[in-house]
């Protein structure tokens, strides 16, 4: 489907004038092309034992639901109310003050009132009221309650797949109501009926089988890494042998598989290997734990746990001391906020200590997982790495804070410190669009499918708008980030809104500036483009 021109896309969005019709009266929802992902394939659902596995097409009148689907959803809600205080409290205490209403990138980009976080939550809250509260039972519609029927279910589906779980609204909510939590649970309910999307359930099935979303089998992963090492040799003259499934290595390195496959992630993967080689790190890749990302997280927490299990199992099998994690958003949200609860206490690993600087990562003493960016920041701080920053002088860099590492960790200074150490030109975007207030790339939480490009361009508009600002003010031409989803979603977003701006991971910038022992004079960057001042005459 062809997209409208950028200047036309949001010209008819009006955030000040919303429809006057009461929101419960607008059913059935219209599935607009470009706004919904394709339905899941039965074989992918069946592979991981998801319920009601069958091919599912969103626009079909009949969703081929189980006979008692309504009970399944209502019992599902009940179970989750009893299991999650978040969900229970968030269903009850919203006062609809509207502070969250214009914080959502999807609302700003679409003007669709049901994309206001408060209303997204009301969609399911209204069902909750009907079946679980006295007021809802007595007053019905006037109590903000409504029956669950097929049209309501379709509406829930449509809007829970228009939320990227970025938590920006949660920041502004006076009670900390977290729409991501509500969407996570909403999608769990949807998943009970086999209503997942193809873009999510495909990678989940892949990940279960091969260890990674892309379905890269072990021998392919090895040859991919070797190809990258050939490129590294061509650029630097240094030969690197990537360690794979190496028992007894000190560190297991896990990164999203996006870094092994697509531009510009692959340059980041090359960067990791160059950095590790330079400092002589005793580490290993794993073909089994070949994915840090976790699309299971976008189906159910149980599936997320099933997929991430391999990382600890592999750490145990390979007898490593601790785990080093690459640049990724939701991988880090899971590692930071869920993992230790799922698998702990993790006593077969050791408290992470940098073998190079001796720094103890005390803040990771329980999970034993260290972020590559903090690891690199520590190396730089100790003066271990030598840089030729001028190699990045053609770049005017800004940094996109990824939602998950921002509002799920508070990881703001490390990437900036690293970027400033390797680049001479760095400019932050405006305050209300970075750090904890950062805007989503528009394609997180499994919404980076191509069939919803219009939704992505709209949802990514607030981010792109801020990039355009620093582009015009400072001439920014590169947006760096520490998230594999960003590396996949930002290139088309930039291409659409701010075509002059390219996208890279942070480690790519590090490796490009890194002066390696025994390297030849570099003339090319990691993308094999001429370095500044080395252009052919």
């Amino acid at each position: 489907m062809k997209l409208p021109k950028p200047e036309e896309l949001i010209s008819n969005v009006n955030l000040k004038k919303l429809p006057s019709k009461f929101w419960m009266d607008t059913l059935p929802v219209e599935f607009k092309p470009g706004f919904y992902c394709y339905g899941a394939k039965g074989k992918n659902l069946a592979y991981v034992d998801f319920p009601n596995a069958r091919d599912f097409s969103v626009t079909d009148e009949d969703w081929r639901l189980p006979e008692d689907w309504k009970n399944i959803v209502i019992n599902g809600i009940k179970q989750r109310l009893e299991r999650f205080r978040t969900f229970h409290v968030f269903m009850d205490i919203c006062v609809r003050c509207g502070a969250c209403s214009d914080k959502c990138h999807f609302f700003i980009g679409t003007g669709d009132p049901k994309n206001m976080p408060v209303l997204r939550a009301e969609l399911i809250r209204s069902v909750y009221r009907k079946y679980f509260t006295l007021g809802g039972k007595i007053f019905g519609r006037n109590g903000g309650a409504r029956d669950l029927d097929i049209d309501v279910l379709k509406e829930l589906w449509y809007y829970f797949f228009q939320c990227t779980e970025c938590r920006r609204c949660s920041l502004f909510c006076p009670y900390g109501i977290d729409t991501a939590e509500i969407t996570i649970i909403g999608r769990e309910l949807i998943n009970l009926l086999g209503l997942n999307t193809d873009w999510i359930s495909g990678p989940v099935a892949n990940c279960y089988r091969t260890g990674n979303h892309l379905g890269i089998e072990p021998h392919t992963m090895k040859s991919t890494l070797e190809f990258m090492c050939n490129d590294i040799e061509e650029i630097t003259g240094i030969q690197i042998e990537p360690p794979i499934n190496k028992k007894g290595a000190e560190i297991l390195f896990v990164t999203p598989s996006g870094d092994l496959f697509a531009d510009p992630g692959i340059y980041n993967a090359m960067g990791y290997m160059m950095l590790f080689h330079e400092i002589g790190l005793d580490y290993t890749w794993s073909t089994y734990a070949s994915e840090g990302g976790n699309f299971g997280f976008f189906t159910s927490l149980e599936m997320a746990k099933r997929l991430h299990s391999k990382i600890y199992e592999e750490a145990k099998r390979l007898k490593v001391k601790w785990i080093l994690g690459g640049e990724c958003g939701h991988m880090w949200r899971i590692w930071h906020q869920y993992h230790n609860t799922w698998y702990g206490p993790i006593d077969f690993l050791e408290e992470p200590v940098s073998p190079i600087t001796g720094t103890k990562f005390e803040h990771a003493k329980s999970t034993k997982i260290v972020h590559i960016t903090e690891f690199t920041a520590d190396l730089i701080r100790h003066g271990i790495l030598k840089f030729d920053k001028s190699r990045n002088d053609n770049l005017i860099v800004t940094f996109h804070d990824s939602c998950n590492t921002s509002r799920g960790m508070g990881f703001f200074e490390e990437p900036r410190y690293v970027i400033k150490s390797v680049c001479n030109n760095f400019y932050d975007m405006p305050d209300e669009t970075i750090r904890e207030q950062t805007f989503c790339c528009g394609g997180g939480s499994g919404l980076n499918a191509n069939e919803i490009m219009e939704l992505r361009m709209r949802g990514g508009f607030p981010r792109a708008n801020a990039v355009r600002y620093v582009r015009e003010k400072f001439g920014v031409n590169l947006i760096a980030n520490i998230c594999a989803i960003d590396r996949a979603t930002l290139p088309p977003l930039m291409n659409y809104w701010v075509p002059e701006v390219r996208v890279s991971g942070v480690t790519e910038l590090v490796a490009n500036a890194l002066i390696m022992k025994g390297e030849k004079e570099r003339t090319m960057n990691l993308r094999m483009e001429p370095l500044p001042g080395k252009e052919e005459q």
């Binding site: 214009d102 509260t133 006037n142 109590g143 909510c173 009670y175 900390g176 089988r209 021998h219 199992e313």
Partner: protein, 332 residues
């Protein structure tokens, strides 16, 4: 939605109380039975709701982090917005509850000629904080009706509240909070009328408490400034309620009973409504937990084992390919 309905409901309550007392003379019902019932419903309902929330465990530690995290690398931590200790959480919660810190962060998004502008927007914060503090002070001021002795702290509160020493038409000193609460209520209800977004999301249960509180404040203001009531008689009633020895003095007019009935309604309505945000804010796991997940394990009481694909199965499927590629395997 629900503006008319809520307004009619509150007017109905007023008429009901007027009819009940002025016409039918059921003063004991409105002065004793309803207040006691409402109070019991409030206490029992409030506790029930909180206990029910409390019974749902907090499986995962998922604070919304709003500043730099604690790290042993020494980057400066934002200890309030991203606390890593109990003290930090206490401070964060204190500011959340007493200063509405998250609401203070509020911004406004505007689209102009295809560009997005985000500006600061503190009006909602101001309206909310004025309303809540005025309500609190008015509530505390009313405690004098329930004590036989004068408490110095309450006297102090009253004199501060009437600091400007203004009299309207010879009536008692004007309380600042009376003006403030009415102004903030008008703002809060006004934005539900005039802001298209807020109007869209509003439900009857958003308008009803606003109208109800406006009714309470209005009847209170009328009694204090315009149609003076017999304070001594009222105090006889209120003190009687407190000492479980209720009496109905003869001289109190219907205006007071309307006021009391609306207050009773508010109390009884409270546990079933969104007003429970008062308790809920303390229980919100995105705010009341420390962000120390990598340092300290959080335990989920219902965590269960899940089926996952073990390495052995993986190797079984790919062993030949792995061997051919020279990747080490467990079983040759």
């Amino acid at each position: 939605m629900g503006i008319g309905l809520s307004l009619i409901a509150v007017l109905g309550l007023i008429l009901f109380a007027y009819f009940g007392t002025a016409v039918l003379g059921l003063n004991a019902l409105f002065g004793i039975v309803f207040p006691y019932t409402a109070f019991i419903v409030f206490v029992v309902g409030f506790i029930y709701r909180v206990v029910k929330w409390g019974k749902s465990p907090v499986p995962y530690r998922i604070p919304t982090t709003a500043g730099q995290h604690y790290s042993s690398l020494g980057f400066k931590q934002n200890k309030i917005d991203n606390p890593s200790t109990g003290w930090g959480v206490t401070l964060r919660m204190f500011l959340e509850v007493f200063a509405f810190r998250s609401l203070f962060r509020n911004t406004k998004a505007e689209l102009l000629e295809g560009r997005l502008y985000i500006g600061s927007s503190k009006w909602l914060w101001l309206g909310a904080i004025v309303f809540h503090y005025s309500f609190l002070i008015i509530f505390l001021r009313h405690l004098r009706f329930f004590t036989t002795d004068t408490i110095w702290a309450l006297s102090l509160l009253e004199s501060v509240d009437s600091f400007f020493q203004i009299h309207i038409l010879g009536s008692p000193l004007l309380y600042i909070t009376d003006i403030a609460i009415l102004a903030s209520l008008l703002y809060l209800i006004g934005r539900r009328f005039f802001d298209s977004k807020i109007r869209y999301i509003s439900l009857p249960s958003d308008f009803f408490p606003l109208f109800l509180i406006i009714g309470i404040v209005t009847t209170g203001v009328l009694m204090r400034y315009f149609f003076p009531v017999d304070i001594v008689a009222i105090k006889e009633l209120t003190v009687g309620l407190i000492y479980l020895n209720p009496v109905i003095p003869k001289e109190i007019g219907s205006l007071f009973y309307i006021h009391l009935f609306l207050v009773s309604t508010l109390f009884a309505y409270f546990p079933f409504s969104k007003l429970m945000h008062m308790a809920g804010v303390f229980l919100s796991p995105t705010r009341n937990l420390a962000n120390n997940n990598r340092m300290k394990r959080h335990v989920n009481p219902w965590e269960y084992l899940v089926k996952h694909r073990h390495y052995e199965e993986y190797e079984d499927e790919f062993r030949e390919k792995m061997k051919k590629a020279g990747i080490p395997v467990e079983k040759e």
